[in-house]
Symmetry: C2
Subunit: 64 residues, 2 copies
């Protein structure tokens, strides 16, 4: 499961801490998701898609 969070976050000039606050998770969680350490839960995925105004399918790439 890849994702476009790093580029989208950079476009908006948000730090990992900024984004973490916007989706109500810790900074380390954002870092881990960006780095592919693990996939977010479905609720966190929904919140991430929302702050970027994208669908989950547009934000996350399911590479089976």
């Amino acid at each position: 499961m890849k994702n476009r969070i790093p580029e989208l976050r950079a476009e908006r000039a948000w730090t990992q801490a900024d984004l973490a606050q916007r989706v109500s998770v810790s900074r380390q969680t954002i870092n881990a998701i960006e780095k592919g350490k693990f996939d977010p839960s479905l609720p966190v995925a929904f919140r991430l898609a929302k702050v970027f105004n994208l669908t989950i399918e547009e934000l996350f790439i399911d590479d089976q």
Copy 2:
């Protein structure tokens, strides 16, 4: 997080066990997701959306 799995599964006349096999989880997991006991992981959510030919947003309703 609500979902339309029960109705969609009924439309197709699939048992919980049928659906479980199609998305590679246990029957109990399908039952728990349908019953709202917990939310699926993002990979399982992707697989569920795929077997129903829907987007995750169409299949799951984020009631924050």
